[in-house]
């Protein structure tokens, strides 16, 4: 039974690994359907709790799957899920990166990179906008975000220092 669960975790995570375009958020619906609805590994509440826990941790958001693995098959599940997530992605991205290098020096690559660059910058700005609208709940938040923008755009001050100040500002409850 447990071996079967581990096999299922490996299958689920490795397929999510190469299907999750756009990162962690995009794999939540599939993961939820399999882990909660179809395979009944955990309750709805447990899934939401695990997601909340993973949101607190730094690093790539897709590692959320290792918590699903842990819930289902303990520490073995945790490691199998992480490995099944990272390995197929590694092989695919590495291979594409190799083939990208073979066209990198040709004129066509200049057109592709110049063309896609504004969209990439727009996506980065959109990410900032989405984070801003979900995290800013008042004037304090606006001040911190705008101040951070100007400090990081115009100066070379270490971001860690600014993040420290932002954390302290948050702690005062001024946000």
């Amino acid at each position: 039974m447990k071996d079967n669960a581990i096999f299922q975790i490996a299958r689920l995570c490795s397929s999510l690994s190469i299907m999750a375009f756009g990162g962690g958020k995009s794999m939540i619906p599939d993961l939820h359907k399999e882990a909660v609805t179809d395979l009944k590994w955990m309750s709805e509440e447990r899934f939401v709790d695990l997601f909340a826990i993973s949101q607190t941790a730094p690093g790539p958001s897709t590692l959320f799957v290792s918590l699903i693995g842990y819930q289902t098959a303990g520490w073995t599940g945790f490691l199998v899920a992480a490995l099944a997530l990272l390995l197929p992605e590694f092989i695919l991205v590495y291979a594409i990166s190799v083939s990208w290098d073979s066209i990198r020096k040709k004129p066509i690559s200049h057109i592709i990179t110049e063309g896609v660059a504004p969209v990439t910058i727009g996506l980065l700005l959109s990410g900032a906008l989405v984070v801003a609208t979900s995290s800013i709940h008042g004037a304090g938040g606006v001040v911190v975000a705008v101040a951070a923008f100007f400090i990081f755009s115009l100066t070379k001050i270490n971001p860690l220092f600014v993040m420290g100040i932002a954390a302290l500002t948050g702690l005062t409850g001024w946000m």
């Binding site: 826990i53 945790f78 695919l92 504004p118 910058i121 727009g122 900032a128 975000a145 923008f149 993040m163």
Partner: protein, 201 residues
């Protein structure tokens, strides 16, 4: 692979390329400072500003590629950047550096079964950091995009993307796969037009 250009591939590491432990530590640091978010912004800060391993345009190129591929964008970025720095060994140390500290932290949190957000003090501090992360991400876009904001055509695509993804909340991949090629086509047409007008002059 037997073409003469094959000898120019950056797969053979330069003598001055960083060692694998430096790459591992650099990506581990990236994960550890990204509490509260902003991992892409931190990647640029550390790879471009602190280490000087990549230029802004190289970083932008790698970021574009990472976004178009499946999986976490920052994991893809680590694999591609790591490979460019030191081939296969570099890619492996970069992805391990990024993932291992995150896994350790996840393991600790889940074994205690706590979300830091349930602690009011930690929640408040993180909310401050998250607001600053929004600013940091916007500033990263500003620094990477400086050159592109000056070109009206590029600016149209930046604003279009922000409107579609940031405001209307379309998902990332369809926008990247539709606007990206259109924008590339415009770059190509503009290049051809410039070339033909040079000929006339």
């Amino acid at each position: 692979m037997n073409s003469p250009e094959a000898y120019n591939f950056p797969t053979a590491p330069d003598p001055d390329s960083p060692c694998v432990s430096a790459i591992f530590i650099c990506f581990a640091k990236m994960t550890l400072v990204s509490f509260g978010g902003g991992l892409t912004a931190w990647s640029r800060q550390i790879l471009v500003e602190e280490k000087g391993w990549l230029s802004d345009s190289e970083f932008l190129e790698i970021l574009s590629l990472s976004q178009a591929l499946p999986g976490a964008i920052n994991a893809n970025l680590a694999i591609i950047a790591g490979r460019r720095l030191k081939g296969m060994a570099g890619a492996i140390s970069a992805i391990l550096g990024l993932a291992l500290p995150a896994m350790v932290i996840l393991a600790v949190l889940v074994s205690l079964y706590i979300s830091c957000l349930s602690n009011p003090a930690v929640g408040k501090a993180l909310s401050g950091v998250t607001c600053a992360c929004a600013g940091l991400s916007a500033a990263t876009a500003y620094r990477l995009g400086k050159k592109h904001f000056k070109k009206p055509m590029s600016l149209v695509f930046v604003i279009g993307t922000v409107f579609l993804v940031g405001v209307l909340r379309f998902s990332l991949i369809p926008i990247l796969l539709s606007l990206g090629p259109i924008s590339a086509l415009c770059v190509w047409l503009a290049g051809r037009r410039a070339a033909s007008s040079e000929k006339i002059l």
